[in-house]
Amino acid sequence: MSILNDYVANIEETCGEERHFIVMLRFNKRNEAMKKILERGKIEKSFSGLVYEISFKGVQMRLYKTGKILLKNLNERKEVEKILEELLK
């Protein structure tokens, strides 16, 4: 949990049938966290360095330069936490 505490400010679940999660990285650690994510995840696409489409262990996500991550179609918050722990360790 300490890795999440170090790098993640908030994990928000969107409402509705489709369950997406929006992760807000801590402002003062976001560059460090993004660097780790870009190193460990596979960059599928990059849109002018503003947004990266990343896959990691079968999970698709979009990383925004503002330090926010959109993870789509995951079932539980715990899955999100597990992926983030692996990406940010």
Partner: protein
């Protein structure tokens, strides 16, 4: 002459930059920004007058009580209610609607009755009625919308009848911006002996409102969407209706007398006069003072000016959105039928992606289902929409920037 650039000078938040971008705040349907006048009013309340209201004999308590009562009077005047007895301060619109559902609904609804509401409602004008119907056994019925997201008045007229005890409707949809003809709805409801309960969270901040002309029975709105503080909202109720119903919350501050009767071994209470019988416990006094200042600010701007500025901005934005090939806009086509709220989607893109991309350019919009899941299902957009909503400080220049950024996003 209404000048949004002049208005902006009163809002300190617009001096801030985020990641080098000026803030373009298009999330006003969720909450508005606050002008310096409101911020200062709350600050000076705490610095000079802070004390609990009512029944304190000391000077601070008397001053605080006077300010708090004055806030009720000024809000009453703002919507043309008779006087402060018809203005109950609550936390927000949701609490106001729950208060009506639980206090009025529990007393007046029974099995065999019907409550008519619409598919365009925010959840807070649907769920409380469904909850109480489970206990009281009445039926909640839903009026559909037309393809352009306006209310299906024909269906409403067919649905409201002798069994109808309440018609619950929003004045302006928080998703499509549709402005409902509340005067027409009130006339229909009253002809059938039903009361009219209106969610006015999106209307009071953005257009002139006269509750007497609308002839509504209950009318609920929030301070934070109209330049006021969070945690303060208003329930307007006709005096005769508020008089006849029991309080929703009970305890301190809302009683005239409480007696322990030795013979029965029980406690009985006489309620305080209106509106205090509905304001149990220490209220949000600073919030009330802030709301009063917000009302004064809006009155100085002129609500006709507010409405016409937002109408003009909405027309301009809708016209410019036509330049985008992949954007689909929802809601009424005529600006006379909609407020300054524009929900849209970009083909093939998740609304949260669009909002996150806009955020990178300092443009704040809301994405998702906006607490109106049934409406989104009806619109055929289960995944939600992106919602841009305007207020007094938004400008054409900001709309231009918004369109240019959307053009870039479309290419992604």
């Amino acid at each position: 002459m209404f000048d949004p650039y002049k208005v902006r000078e009163d809002f300190p938040i617009f001096n801030r930059k985020i990641d080098g971008n000026n803030i373009i705040y298009f999330d006003n349907a969720a909450t508005s920004q606050r002008p310096l006048q409101v911020i200062e009013a709350v600050k000076s309340y705490y610095e000079l007058y802070n004390s609990n209201v009512h029944r304190g004999v000391h000077t601070l308590s008397q001053e605080s009580s006077e300010l708090y009562e004055k806030a009720h009077r000024e809000v009453a005047n703002f919507i043309n209610a008779k006087d402060l007895q018809e203005i109950v301060f609550v936390k927000n619109t949701t609490e106001a609607l729950n208060l009506v559902a639980y206090a009025w609904g529990f007393k007046n609804l029974k099995a065999g009755d019907e409550v008519v509401t619409t598919l365009m409602e925010h959840h807070s004008n649907m769920i409380p009625w469904e909850m109480i119907s489970k206990v009281k056994g009445f039926k909640v019925k839903y009026v559909d919308i037309n393809e352009d997201a306006t209310l299906n008045y024909e269906m409403l007229e067919n649905m409201v009848g002798s069994k109808t005890k309440a018609v619950c409707i929003c004045h302006m949809s928080n998703v499509t911006g549709t402005i409902n003809d509340v005067e027409r709805v009130s006339k229909l409801a009253h002809e059938n002996g039903a009361v009219v309960i209106v969610d006015a969270a999106q209307s009071v901040p953005h257009m002139p409102v006269d509750v007497k002309k609308l002839d509504v029975d209950f009318y609920a709105f929030s301070g934070h969407k109209m330049l006021g503080p969070t945690g303060i909202g208003v329930l307007y109720g006709k005096k005769e209706l508020l008089d006849e119903i029991e309080p929703f919350l009970t305890g301190g501050g809302m009683v005239r007398d409480v007696k322990y009767e030795v013979s029965s071994g029980s406690v009985t209470a006489d309620w305080a006069e209106l509106p205090w019988k509905f304001e149990a416990g220490t209220p949000n006094i600073a919030g009330g003072v802030g709301l009063m200042e917000a009302v004064r600010y809006l009155k100085r701007l002129g609500m006709e000016n507010v409405r016409s500025h937002e109408k003009e901005l909405t027309e301009y934005a809708l016209e410019r959105l036509k330049e985008l090939g992949k954007v689909r806009v929802y809601g009424p086509r005529r600006s006379s039928e909609r407020g300054g709220i524009i929900p849209f989607n970009i083909d093939g893109m998740n609304p949260h992606d669009v909002a996150l991309l806009l955020d990178q350019f300092g443009i704040m919009v809301r994405s998702g289902l906006h607490c109106a899941h049934p409406l989104h299902e009806r619109l055929g957009v289960k995944g939600g929409t992106v919602r841009a909503s305007f207020y007094v400080y938004n400008t054409r220049e900001e709309v231009d920037r918004f369109i240019e950024v959307l053009k870039q996003i479309e290419k992604v």
